[in-house]
């Protein structure tokens, strides 16, 4: 039962209410929504100060900042929702530099008519994700757009973090001879989302893998400070990420299909829809490139962490002026794993 604050006539109706233009107007309705939902859910010393900004002190060192906008549809899916996805996504972007994520901000664009029950569910999911990750949301913003001008809710999160001394992780740091590792099964998130799309539903539930990876990254850096690259293979999947790294680093890669972990159900769903798991989005996995000598230690550190249990060493970086990513198929032949052309769509042919 929500308590009514001084000055408000009645509590926000989170069961049956909807967003309307007053919630973005800057007046009492907006203040009440922010108070009863956002402040209450995220609740920390910064938000309690009720300023338009949050001040914090950090030590000397290299800072990292990352931002991500989230427009996923459907908003709710097995394994998560747009809320926790937006928290994990930005934490992960910060973490891929080797930085320890420290603070988040969250901006919401809400469509007039959006159910408050859904908004509450999303915000509470974000708050839980932020608390579990120990990365507070310390400032935010809310705007409302007219009906028809937004997809329910768009969320933008920005994160800042601090890179420990001596860490230099970057997409252009891969070198011939390095090994390529992945932290777990590929394709879970994208298949979970796609299988919820109208006309593609399965009777079986495939869950998104959305997760905050900074704990895993910290364990990896502790074991192998000399990691060259880290990236999370989100849109476009593993194939796109490997092509990006190859291109940035000016080398090629060779991976082995049979070493790439793919969940059996994800594999089967891809067969049904004519998708290739290599191109399907992940939201709780990362790719690491490290010197060959460190590969075993890194793999062990990953496997020891709950988010890296299925980690695998899938290939190596090679010298290649074309920057191709090649794959030895489990069948025995070799082929190129190219960049994705547009969004991968199911096919009948």
């Amino acid at each position: 039962m929500t308590a009514v604050r001084n000055g408000y006539i009645r509590p926000v109706d989170f069961k049956h209410g909807h967003i309307d233009m007053t919630h973005g107007g800057g007046g009492r309705a907006m203040a009440q929504l922010i108070d009863e939902l956002f402040m209450r859910a995220f609740d920390n010393e910064w938000l309690r100060q009720a300023n338009d900004q949050a001040a914090f002190a950090i030590g000397a060192g290299r800072m990292v900042m990352a931002t991500d906008s989230h427009v996923v549809s459907p908003l709710f899916f097995p394994g998560g929702d747009i809320g926790c996805l937006s928290v994990h996504g930005t934490i992960n972007d910060v973490a891929m530099s080797g930085a320890v994520p420290l603070y988040l901000s969250a901006g919401f664009i809400l469509e007039e008519g959006f159910p408050l029950a859904d908004l509450k569910r999303i915000v509470e999911s974000m708050a839980t994700a932020a608390r579990d990750a120990r990365v507070p949301v310390i400032t935010g913003d809310t705007k409302v757009v007219e009906r028809g001008k937004g997809d329910g809710v768009f969320i933008t999160t920005t994160g800042v973090g601090m890179v420990p001394a001596g860490i230099a992780i970057s997409g252009d740091a891969a070198r011939p001879g390095d090994r390529i590792l992945v932290s777990g099964t590929m394709g879970d998130h994208g298949v979970a989302i796609m299988s919820l799309r109208e006309n593609l539903t399965f009777e079986t539930t495939i869950r998104s893998d959305t997760a905050a990876l900074h704990g895993l990254v910290a364990a990896m850096i502790a074991a192998v400070p000399g990691i060259h690259c880290l990236r999370d293979p989100t849109r476009g999947g593993l194939a796109t990420t490997l092509n990006e790294l190859a291109s940035q680093s000016g080398c090629g890669m060779v991976i082995a299909e049979k070493r790439i972990p793919v969940n059996g159900q994800v594999n089967a769903a891809c067969e049904f829809l004519g998708l290739d798991p290599l191109y399907v989005a992940n939201e709780g996995k990362l790719v690491a490139v490290c010197p060959a000598a460190d590969a075993d230690a890194l793999l062990a550190a990953m496997r020891a962490h709950p988010l890296g249990e299925d980690a695998a060493n899938i290939g190596e970086v090679i010298d290649d002026p074309h920057h191709f990513v090649q794959m030895d198929t489990s069948f025995g032949g070799r082929r190129v794993v190219d960049w994705l052309t547009g969004e991968q769509l199911p096919r009948i042919c």
Binding site: A256, I318, S330, F331, G333, R335, V336, C349
Partner: protein, 417 residues
């Protein structure tokens, strides 16, 4: 996955590769066309070329219904979708095919047309039932595998007495396309295209059976082996074709016995015959007009025929002059023979039918095989239409140099471990 994984076994693959290498006589070449786009895809995806001896050449045929769908028909579909209130239901494959004026179904959708991707024709019927005051059109494409599902949808619509549902029919026929290739001047008279045998389509054959191919084997004296969809099936079929050619036989053999019989699926065939009839002629992108190669909806079901309902007129749109798809579809040229392959024409910006879907010969080679060409420019990021870099004309040599990759100094992680 049962009946899938076993047919992808690497050990068995090596065994079959040895068998083919052993039985293929070095004194001759074996030029085999895999008609079906799904086979093209399997060959590319599993790197089958690596496992074949250099004198066994795979030629990619026109068995990709998206590839051979003329631009003009996509224009028709886009025009339908632009009609106010109309819902166009389509398989996802057609969404990105470029139509006239730089548009596509995907772009039309972005501009507000109600275009819905569906998995099954049954979804289109359901959408019609759920939206009784909207017109619903199902954009039907595909070979004989996909035609029975459309027939079921039309029969259902009739049984439900739907008044807001129709089908824009673009179903095409496999035997007609094979005839067209074999009748082409280069094959028949000039003999310049050595086309020794065919790998017959897997799933089309589950419907039509193996019997329709007997005509080709007899009339054109070329063996046909119907192959299943998995890479081991394809390799076994290649072995069977090599044997037939060595023994001077020209028969129809069935490798896909677990799903194909001589007569096929009588129930499906009957339903198709009930709903559809032959068109006298139909344009295939890349092949031109092909007689008796496509189906239209019978008058009895005219209420469900979008062409009747909306008075659709077809305008043929020619392909870019530089496009070599017509020759490539007939096996006369290879992707690397085309001046625009890999430069202007890429999967991001397909100029012709062979690049349009991932099973077209050019798309398959670009996506999976071009790392073996030495002179093709690689475009890692989407190119605008103008060529931004050049590296000399693509070589006219065969797609893959014998043995392995010459272009890349990779440690041989093992095509033959």
């Amino acid at each position: 996955m049962k009946y899938i994984d076993e047919f992808r076994d690497g050990e068995l693959a090596r065994g079959l590769a040895s068998a083919i290498a052993h039985e293929a006589r070095t004194a001759r070449s074996y030029n085999l066309m895999e008609f079906c786009g799904g086979h093209t895809h399997a060959i590319s995806r599993y790197g089958l070329k690596d496992l074949l001896p250099p004198n066994v050449n795979m030629i990619h045929g026109p068995g990709c219904p998206v590839c051979v769908l003329p631009i003009g028909r996509i224009d028709n579909a886009i025009a339908l979708a632009a009609r106010p209130g109309l819902i166009l239901c389509t398989y996802a494959d057609t969404m990105r095919v470029p139509a006239s004026n730089g548009t596509s179904l995907l772009k039309a959708k972005a501009q507000g047309a109600d275009i819905r991707m569906i998995y099954s024709s049954a979804d289109a019927v359901r959408i019609a039932q759920e939206n009784p005051d909207r017109e619903v059109v199902f954009f039907a494409i595909g070979f004989e595998t996909t035609t029975p599902p459309t027939a079921v949808a039309i029969a259902q619509a009739m049984a439900l007495a739907l008044t807001n549902f129709s089908v824009f029919c673009n179903h095409v026929l496999t035997p007609a396309a094979i005839s067209n290739i074999l009748e082409s001047k280069e094959v028949r008279e000039l003999g310049t295209v050595p086309l020794d045998g065919f790998i017959g389509p897997a799933h089309v054959s589950t419907v039509i059976g193996s019997q329709p191919y007997e005509y080709f084997a007899e009339e054109y004296r070329r063996p046909v082996v119907i192959a299943g969809f998995e890479p081991l099936d394809v390799m076994q079929a290649i072995l069977m074709l090599v044997r037939q050619l060595n023994e001077g036989r020209a028969e129809v053999e069935n490798e896909f016995t677990r799903a194909v019989t001589r007569d096929g699926n009588a129930k499906a065939k009957a339903l198709v015959a009930e709903v559809f009839e032959l068109r006298r002629s139909f344009e295939w992108r890349g092949l031109g007009e092909v007689p008796y190669s496509a189906l239209r909806i019978k008058t009895k079901y005219a209420a469900f025929d979008a062409e009747e309902r909306y008075g659709i007129t077809y305008r043929s749109v020619p392909d870019n002059k530089a496009c070599e798809c017509g020759a490539i579809l007939r096996g006369i040229r290879k992707p690397t023979d085309c001046k625009v392959f890999g430069t202007v024409c890429t999967p991001e910006n397909p100029i012709g039918s062979c690049m349009v879907s991932s099973e077209g010969a050019c798309a398959a080679h670009y996506t999976y095989g071009r790392f073996k060409d030495t002179a093709v420019v690689v475009a890692p990021t989407p190119l605008p239409v103008a060529v931004t870099s050049a590296a000399g004309p693509p070589q006219g040599a065969s797609c893959a140099p014998p043995g392995g990759s010459a272009a890349v100094t990779a440690p041989s992680v093992g095509a033959h471990q």
